[in-house]
């Protein structure tokens, strides 16, 4: 069950940041990713190839794999550790006509208990001497949720994303972008394996578990703003902010600041990101009794939490226009480490085996490592 975020990830994988008047550069990327934290280890490759054909068409393809080994806190408290694999591929096309770029894409994701298909469309228009780019986008997701221990279990989930974005050159040194997205989900939104806990005086622990039950619809709105500024000594600083709210009463503020500093053939990046959110209205760490509410969940990602990420990234350009190898114009290798820390404000760490009501709050620390080679041709 790696489904969460797939639709958005797929949508964005084939839609670069809006540049309507020119096609994206021809490039290929080979990436290895590793997530390690909270008893979960996920790694795998991601390969992206983009190639222009003629003057007005550009095609992009991506192949991505997640190999998961999980003994997370959710798994060890209510289930058994497991391993699984998700494979995803995407194809997309950009068509440039005048100052307008039209894009279409398709993504397919498969794992043992979840299949997803996503269709993306967008149109970008350059205006005012290419100072402004307006983008309208739409994505449709068609997912089928399964259950590994029940071959007859099959539920449908439909997703839609409507987006509008504006990229604006403000000065010779400053560029900004504003994006607004509305997403609607309709269908089976539960995780079929996850449980909630409730007071049960008949149990030795003082509590028992029952299946979670989510609403069948979710609508969310997100508004994001970013601005990047070129500093006088050839470096850049970026600030970003996102406001998010949904019909499950999750409301969040996310902010980040990034500093980019080139030095000789290297480019160094440092970033700090902050995220704070409220919990869903049907979330509870401990329900008062069985079937206490119409909807119920104990998904820690839907609980109130605050997360902090500190990122370090270094890129080395080993090939540039002056020393190209055959058809390759430029090449670089990049390594990055994102250190993620999450404080959960209402999710108890049951592995501490403390008396009911006295369990410490759970904290998650994870390292996200990436290394990738990029070639331009």
């Amino acid at each position: 069950m790696l489904r969460r975020g797939l639709l958005l990830a797929a949508t964005l994988m084939v839609f670069d940041v809006a540049h309507a008047g020119v096609l994206p550069e021809d490039r290929a990327d080979v990436l290895y990713h590793l997530y390690d934290g909270g008893g979960v280890e996920i790694d795998g490759p991601s390969i992206l190839v983009r190639k222009q054909v003629g003057k007005s068409l550009s095609f992009v393809g991506n192949y991505y794999v997640d190999m998961v080994s999980s003994a997370s806190i959710d798994v060890i408290t209510t289930a058994s550790p497991y391993t699984e694999e998700r494979k995803q591929w995407s194809l997309g096309m950009d068509y440039l006509r005048g100052n307008t770029t039209m894009r279409a894409g398709y993504t397919s994701s498969e794992e043992s208990d979840y299949d997803a298909a996503t269709y993306n469309f967008s149109v970008s228009q350059d205006m005012f001497g290419a100072l402004t780019t307006l983008t309208l986008s739409y994505a449709l997701g068609d997912d089928v949720v399964g259950k590994s221990n029940d071959p007859t279990f099959e539920r449908q989930l439909d997703k839609q994303i409507y987006g509008i974005g504006l990229t604006q050159i403000l000065t010779k040194n400053l560029i900004s972008t504003v994006n607004f997205e509305t997403m609607t989900d309709e269908g089976y939104l539960n995780n079929p394996y996850r449980s909630v806990r409730y007071f049960d005086s008949g149990s030795a622990l003082g509590y028992s578990y029952e299946s979670e039950l989510y609403p069948n619809t979710r609508t969310s709105n997100a508004l994001g703003i970013r601005a990047r500024y070129f500093l006088p000594y050839r470096a850049a600083v970026e600030a970003e902010y996102r406001y998010f709210i949904d019909t499950w009463d999750v409301e969040s503020h996310t902010a980040a600041i990034t500093y980019i500093h080139p030095w000789k053939d290297f480019t160094f990046t440092g970033k700090f990101r902050y995220h704070d959110q409220t919990g869903a209205h049907f979330y509870s760490d401990l329900f008062s009794r069985a079937e206490a509410t119409n909807f119920r969940g104990r998904d820690k990602e839907l609980s109130p939490l605050t997360s902090y990420t500190f990122k370090l990234k270094a890129a080395y350009t080993f090939l540039n226009e002056n020393q190209s190898w055959g058809f390759l114009k430029k090449g670089s290798v990049t390594a990055s480490l994102d250190m993620l820390h999450i404080d959960f404000h209402d999710f108890s760490d049951l592995t501490a085996l403390a008396p009911i009501g006295e369990e410490p709050l759970y904290k998650l620390d994870a390292d996200v490592f990436q290394i990738f080679f990029s070639f331009w041709y």
């Binding site: 489904r3 964005l12 509008i164």
Partner: protein, 80 residues
Amino acid sequence: MKNVFLAIGRILLPLLVIGGLSGCSNIEPWVKPYERDRLADPIMALDGDPVSTSYLQHVYESREGARGGEGAAGGGCGCN
């Protein structure tokens, strides 16, 4: 806050449509093409590493309750 979004949408959308329809030639670009050399520097690319960005966005969507609004790339980790 939902009303704020509605209000923003009601004001912004007509402005964008009117702005687009009124003809781009009436507005003189205040940053000329020959003045955009700094903006063309790779360090100013809003998404210079699309594969990496999409991967990290997927990590955040798996670990947090929010999604979308970032406009750039999105790709992979587990939820349980």
